[in-house]
Symmetry: C2
Subunit: 740 residues, 2 copies
């Protein structure tokens, strides 16, 4: 199709070449007067019946959305998007995100029709089967060819798409040369009504508008139906006006069920936007053609065998046949793999030219495409540190700033806490639209690698996921905020972990040590969530040396995401100046936990004290007081990360904790007491007793807060002594955790 052609049908109400910010009013029904229009019509019918069959098969699934979006899908996969089915990971492919992920059949079917090899017909038909290896899970998953990000939790995809578009902008600004554009892809994000209601979607939209991401198009499947019924029950906004206010161009397609040409033309207009992202508002009918068309009932349940039959009859299909895709339809899509090969060949040729003309940049670009960062990155990590008390958020800055400066894979951002999180390196440049000049003197460039996300923690983490998903290893996104506000971001942090995305989150103010900000800002229970989350390292380093270790781990851990949890306040330094000089050891962090201080003849120690993060020194102080004032011989273990510890051998773990007896595993071992002002939940795995928080925090300045809750050396020492006496007195059952 030549973009802009509308099969000779004049468009009512306005020209189809809508000016920016005007609406496309398209024809109401397809005029069946051209061969292509008839073919389109047949493809749509085939597609809709296929979706109905796929859901009917196992009497499960979400048919309505996919059916309503059929014409959008044809416009995307057949006309608008540039991709290569046989090279699904082609670097410069357009990215497509299905933010309304429950409509996953939409994507699976078009992946199949357009020739993605893995998405065989058999695979397509395995939707909701008993096959654990199905490539058609209930929501799109990143592991599948042609799927860019896992979606499902609503609104996330919008943030991911913004991240994907930012990645393109940044790489293009960094590598493209005049006449030699090696990064030029577009990002298409399909949304439903829900993504416009979810806060994370609204945050991301706001940023997309601010950043003027003209390489991003949001396609709104405007069917006005959600699970509860019609959208006007919960939303009567003027959505076009809202999107315009957020910095988008808006196009509207009134007949989104049939008008493939109008949609394709709107998409083409959007691709060539000069300065803003586009929002394409496409009116559709959910479950079109079924007995429940336009109703919530068509959203999340199959139509029933009778209705599916009726659909077939009404459309001239054989009611007894299932999954019928005629030759005409196959043929319609058959050119796509070849077209894709053409895109790839053209791009590879451009890349060859580029590498010839700009060999250094070309080499760097290719290394980044391979997901490599410079091999000597560890050399950039400081080896020595000041011994004066230092907030670990300050240590974090010292560790990461030289890396972020030197390695342009790093895209570092913050949810409006630049002065607090210390992630700014000397000479850092903001990622901002080139046309922006701010009141505080910033001149925008997309080549910048420091992102001001605003006070939008959730979108920040979702956008970071998009940056990481663009092409694994090409960009290493780092986010930052107060630890407490990673609860806002948690759904996106989870999605990053689920997708094994390499994202590093820097969470400062990570305990009651945050002080006067009070209980709203003092995390007590939040670590329990992240410590339980698969593929997520929650690391609480105890001083600068451990901060270095935490960063080394987080950079090396490419199988998932990490949270580096740092203190607001100054904490004692136990490293004696740096690597190997004092108690703390960066390589100890990599093991999750390690013996910080051993006693002579360790098997005969009286107690092991676990210390963690901002309060690691408390364990050291208590051990010293136990030894000097009570004659109690205490070992000290530093325990920055549970998940890393779990990855160690049982022998290593036992050697650290020594809960077994001196001779064998059955004689009484050494009791373990953990000190951490978090809820104890989960520490029971590693300790026998704990000095923890059982309540929310309190607003008190940092120098008073710990004492207020009993985290003071004498009080804690008394508790440990009391506990050890209690053991002798037989007060406790072995295996029963004691809250001290």
């Amino acid at each position: 199709m030549a973009p802009g052609r509308v099969d000779g049908n004049p468009v009512e109400g306005s020209t189809i070449h809508a000016a920016k910010d005007q609406l496309v009013t398209a024809k109401k029904q397809p005029a069946a007067d051209t061969r292509l229009t008839r073919l389109h019509d047949h493809v749509l019918k085939t597609y809709r019946i296929l979706i109905a069959d796929l859901c009917q098969q196992f009497n499960m699934g979400h048919p309505g959305g996919a059916i309503g979006m059929a014409a959008i899908g044809v416009a995307l996969w057949k006309y608008a998007m540039r991709y290569a089915p046989h090279s699904p990971d082609w670097f410069n492919r357009d990215r497509f995100v299905l933010s309304n992920g429950h409509a996953c059949l939409f994507q699976y079917s078009f992946l199949h029709l357009s020739g993605y090899k893995a998405m065989t017909f058999e695979q397509l038909k395995s939707y909701h089967s008993e096959r654990a290896d199905s490539l058609c899970p209930g929501h799109p998953e990143i592991e599948i060819e042609g799927i860019e990000v896992t979606t499902g939790p609503l609104g996330q995809g919008v943030a991911n798409a913004v991240g994907l578009a930012v990645a393109t902008k940044n790489l293009a600004a960094t590598y493209n040369q005049p006449g030699n554009e090696v990064v030029s892809n577009h990002t298409w994000c399909m949304i439903g009504d829900a993504c416009l209601q979810e806060g994370v979607g609204l945050e991301a939209i706001s940023l997309a508008g601010h950043w003027r991401l003209n390489n991003l198009t949001i396609i709104y499947d405007n069917n006005q139906i959600t699970c509860d019924g019609s959208v006007d029950m919960v939303n009567n906004e003027d959505i076009n006006a809202k999107m315009r206010a957020c910095g988008f161009h808006v196009l509207e397609v009134s007949d989104g069920c049939y008008d493939i040409d109008g949609i394709a033309q709107a998409l083409e207009t959007a691709r060539h936007s000069s300065e803003k992202p586009y929002f394409i508002n496409i009116k559709t009918t959910i479950g079109l053609g079924s007995a429940v068309a336009g109703k919530a009932a068509s959203h999340g349940a199959p139509f029933g065998a009778e209705d599916v039959k009726a659909m077939k009859v009404a459309n001239g299909f054989d009611p007894e046949k299932h999954f019928e895709i005629g030759a005409e339809v196959r043929d319609f899509f058959s050119e796509l793999p070849e077209r894709g090969k053409g895109f790839v060949t053209e791009w590879e040729e451009a890349l060859r030219r580029y590498c010839g003309e700009f060999p250094e940049l070309g080499e760097e670009f290719q290394a980044r495409m391979r997901g490599e960062i410079r091999k000597d990155w560890r050399e950039l990590v400081p080896k020595t540190f000041d011994t004066a008390p230092t907030a670990s958020r300050v240590s974090g800055g010292k560790v990461i700033n030289p890396l972020a400066k030197a390695i342009n894979s790093f895209m570092v951002g913050t949810a409006d806490l630049s002065p607090s999180v210390n992630m700014i390196w000397e000479g850092k440049v903001d990622f901002q639209p080139p046309s922006l000049q701010t009141a505080c003197g910033i001149n925008g460039t997309y080549a910048g690698r420091y992102l001001h996300y605003g006070i939008r923690e959730h979108a920040m983490a979702g956008i970071a996921n998009g940056l990481a998903a663009f092409s694994r290893g090409t960009i290493l996104p780092v986010t930052s905020s107060f630890f407490m506000f990673y609860l806002y971001a948690a759904p996106a942090v989870r999605m990053g972990a689920l997708q094994h995305l390499h994202v590093i989150h820097v969470a400062t103010h990570d305990s009651i040590g945050a002080g006067e900000d009070g209980p709203t800002h003092q995390p007590i229970e939040l670590a329990a969530l992240f410590r339980s989350m698969p593929h997520l390292l929650y690391i609480r380093p105890g001083d600068s040396e451990e901060v270095a270790g935490a960063w080394e781990v987080a950079i090396a851990y490419t199988d998932g995401s990490s949270i580096i949890s740092e203190s607001r306040h100054k904490i004692p330094q136990l490293h004696g100046g740096g690597e190997g000089k004092g108690l703390t050891r960066r390589d100890g962090v990599a093991k999750g936990a390690y013996v910080l201080q051993e006693v002579d003849d360790a098997d005969t120690a009286d107690v092991t004290i676990i210390g963690v993060g901002a309060e690691l020194s408390f364990a050291v102080d208590v051990a010293a007081a136990l030894q000097s004032e009570r004659g109690v011989r205490a070992r000290v273990v530093s325990f920055p990360c549970w998940r890393l510890f779990e990855m160690q051998s049982v022998e290593y773990r036992r050697s650290v904790l020594r809960r077994h007896g001196p001779k064998d595993a059955h004689t009484a071992g050494i009791p373990v007491v953990v000190i951490e002002p978090y809820a104890p939940n989960g520490w029971e795995r590693y300790a026998d007793a704990g000095i923890n928080m059982r309540t929310f925090g309190h607003s008190l300045p940092g120098k008073y807060i710990y004492d207020h809750f009993g985290f003071e050396t004498v009080k804690m020492t008394d508790k440990v002594v009391g506990y050890l006496e209690g053991i002798k007195e037989g007060k406790y059952i072995k295996g029963e955790f004691v809250d001290l």
Copy 2:
């Protein structure tokens, strides 16, 4: 002040009586030509210097916002708001929410000046002191006289304010009679730039517009500064257009630093809005008068002693004096307690008339004001249940529907999952604006008690907090969604728990049993968060009987919030028909855990199996298989709620778990194995080994998913047997949790 008066100064650009949706353009500087204007000016100066002093005192705090909002504060407390300082809990008071809670000094100072008794001058000066009993914590806290909700995490206050306004609307629609309006208060919500960026704020704004809450006014302290610098770094939206698109009237005040009259007039206009909420966009200068005025530096740090001195000199104050509040200023505010008494007297008179004219309604209204629900509510809980397998989300509906129908304290809502969560009772009426008629046939009334929140989980929980905070016990909000999406809502759930707000969250689809929706929808690690959260009961009932128990607990637990966690899929019923007939016991739920099945001579049992919630029957099945096929004598414990169990005596807890030996606490007890397809974290407190999830879930239909992860009777039985053999073989250390 007479509203509408502008001291004779003509207003530039438009009339001060702005038409709805037009802007007020106010004068740029106060003309010092009237006594009142001079007095206003003096009050503002005094106030700003007071704030600077309060932050300087302990060299901590957030001065900039409070200083910038000085004129807004005067307009609110002196003119616009109806409240009674000596009766801070007066039922019909206006509610004020400081969503930008870090500017708490703003509120504390005005509470002090307007005569709240608890907020003495000494208390005011305790801001950031070492006093643990300070009434001036780092963010406003609900426990303090004159503070409606705890704020701090940004955006939450907006949602709370929407909830407060909904409460008024619902109570007014339920109880007010023509000419006899016993509920007529207004809600004022102060926000900064951040609340317009946070997703939860945007979600709540969208709902406020939809619900046409003309009794809500959002006051925007538009200073264009956040921590990172100028807002144009992260936001260049046309905010007025956006708010209009969301269904708000917009007024703008251009000289928000001085123009008390203009602000007061805008507030008065907003109070009398006929059909929409108002958004008042007030341009201010952060840290006005300091050397860092208009800069981010004035946001979160004191100005320094020299600068504070300079401010005093520049304003004609004695630079050596601190906390100076002159008699003229005291006098300016002195009428407020008396005025407040007048409001209360007038209202009490109206209430007396009301109760005389409408004795039944009056009695009910008064009971609700006292926070009472009918004493016989437990009688409404079903006593018997079907014995056929039932999804606990269905059981939940059966339990709560008759209660919600009969007790109009219940305001039940859902984030667009009505068909899934089963919270609709026969004859339920939606809470919708009276002017609304939806495509699906709803005619709005504010008397309705079923809330469609849309796909806005976070705002839902924040709004529920506002409903609960309106007046403790008057409204019992119930929210509902899939459990996984309570991660979206978690920051608001936390705020509810922190404030001891009585809110019940119904979380369905609570395990991998959610099935084909896949890992994005299958909670694995989320319970760890909520089980660690103070003042929150996370309850997983195991069948209909336990669902009844869970609801009884959640309704009775007025000291905080609860989550009732329900299955998507049908689960076996262990109650034998109802209360006391089978294994499960509703009164057992109240204890957190209880013995479901004991063996003869319990001390000699081989193992205790803990079962939970949707998978409780797995424990029963495994115990039966152990007994019949392996000769292993297994006890079974049902364990729906950790926090409730922790509230029991140590004797009770030990009697349930029997981890002590038969004679005393030191001989070997009975090993405990927990079965729950969640991350194990925290179970180590109650069990010695576990069959749990260590990965994310998988998309497979419900009938395959459990087996896929090994939650199948034979496999689990083998694991338990293997574990018991391992103990005999000495493979494990007592106290070391074993992942089976």
